[in-house]
């Protein structure tokens, strides 16, 4: 999705400042496009008159929604990475009693839609277990476990992609298993994991928009509230789309750079 954009700035300079400028230009272009639509929108066949100013009144609501989304993303990424690391390492075990349940967990979460999981955690789990979960808790738990299932596979894949010779060499100089893992395997695996972990984390941010279903006041939920209030869904949802885009574009560009930085070094 960011490919054409990426190619534009790959060619000239590889300096950080240049890239940041490119990103800002990208955002400005988009805002400009929206402004143009707004300005000339009146003469389109739809005859819709754009009015983004109506949103200004709700700026604090939008900001708190954005803050909610970001904080939620960070929490879900951190918890998800933790779950992913534990289950990813666990799946390397040779004990089927450890591997089987982890595999079941991963497949369960990978093969059902997040939205279904969210709803299930919020409505079905309390009925089954008798434990009442707040919307926020249910959502956190669900997204952390959902993300964890994907992180887990990324981490496991990174680890098993490290050459066996590296492990043997580490054992041969007398390293104990945890030393082999910490000193040799993980540092090498981590480099390979970074790009897919970044991608999955970007997905996590986007997935938080599903929280609105459980009435968690994230960016999208606040948008829905505003849209109902001022009857301007076009402006509201456009703004929300831009807000997500503005947050994620720099991140994806950064992620790509990490990926290609590695590529350069290996070449």
């Amino acid at each position: 999705m960011t490919k054409p954009f990426f190619q534009v700035h790959r060619v000239p300079n590889r300096q950080g400042l240049g890239k940041l400028a490119q990103v800002l230009i990208g955002v400005c272009l988009l805002v400009g496009a929206v402004a143009l639509i707004r300005k000339f929108g009146g003469s389109t066949s739809a005859g819709y008159v754009w009015d983004f100013q109506a949103l200004w009144k709700y700026r604090s609501l939008l900001l708190s929604g954005l803050a909610y989304t970001l904080v939620f993303t960070v929490i879900c990424i951190v918890l998800g990475l933790f779950v992913g690391l534990v289950t990813g390492l666990g799946r390397l075990s040779s004990n089927p009693l450890v591997v089987a349940p982890l595999r079941a967990y991963i497949e369960l979460f990978r093969c059902t839609p997040v939205l279904v999981q969210l709803v299930w955690f919020y409505y079905a789990l309390p009925v089954l277990t008798g434990i009442e979960l707040s919307a926020v808790t249910a959502a956190t738990l669900c997204l952390a476990l959902y993300g964890g299932a994907f992180y887990s596979e990324i981490i496991r894949g990174g680890i098993i992609s490290v050459d066996v010779g590296q492990v043997e060499a580490a054992k041969a100089i007398g390293m104990r298993p945890h030393q082999v893992m910490l000193r040799v395997v993980l540092p090498q695996a981590f480099k390979k994991m970074v790009p897919p972990l970044m991608n999955q984390s970007i997905m996590q941010l986007k997935n938080t928009s599903l929280l609105s279903v459980l009435a968690v006041p994230d960016l999208l939920y606040q948008g829905q509230v505003i849209a109902h209030e001022i009857y301007r869904p076009l402006e509201t949802y456009t703004f929300i789309a831009i807000a997500y885009f503005a947050v994620l574009l720099p991140v994806t560009v950064w992620a790509k750079r990490l990926e290609f930085g590695d590529y350069d070094r290996e070449a």
């Binding site: 050459d163 010779g165 590296q166 043997e168 060499a169 580490a170 054992k171 041969a172 100089i173 007398g174 390293m175 104990r176 298993p177 030393q179 000193r183 040799v184 540092p187 090498q188 480099k191 290996e266």
Partner: protein
Amino acid sequence: MTGKPEMSNARISIRGLRKAFGDHVVLKDISLQIEAGEVVALIGPSGSGKSTLLRCLNLLTVPDAGEITVGDFTLAFQGKSTHLPGERKLARFRAQTGMVFQHFNLFTHMTALQNVMEGPVTVLKTPRAQAEQQARALLQKVGLADRADYAPDKLSGGQKQRVAIARALAMQPSVMLFDEATSALDPELVGEVLSVIKALAREGMTMILVTHEIAFAREVADQVIFMRDGLVVEMGPPSQVIDNPQNDATRVFVGRFQASLVQAQASADPAT
């Protein structure tokens, strides 16, 4: 470990060693004695079990049965019921043998210097400054003092293998194991690695070499072991095993080498 003085003179003894991978028996009842300071070359056709034997000596491959003594450390194996020694003991056992691999296996995320320092710092808990000094001295010894800060992928095959030798030496092992250390090298790079091994032999390091370099084995080894189908067929000084083999299988194997030698130098002893 560090408390043991001059450990580089340990004898190795192997008794009744067996190993099978599934139905395929790779080692059939191997018994050997290797005296301290001896250089032993393991030769034989592919699949004869020589690499497996070497890997059993530092337990990268775990034997099915038999006993291995390195220095004053003995491990016994009895079929599947053997529970391996604890990981701590296992690591200590491995630390006293230095292993050099066919494909070098240098830690790719570290420089040459860091590769050599890794064992002392992580395993022996040597202070960094001291480990670095020692590592630089070892790199000097293998002729790579000026490559200390190079990443492995910036080194040639021969240089990588010399760093790998320095890395193994940094643990001050009592025996060095070379698993076809020159087989993955371009022909013009073999010499630099062999000369490092030769220098170690002169210092009196106990070494076991799995090698296809018969000429080198003859030059450097005190004992040559010819293996075939998981058995030691013949063992003795190079003047016997290589120049005057007693066993037919050895004769055939060494004969091919002798034939090529005849072409190369007239002084070779022709084998029938």
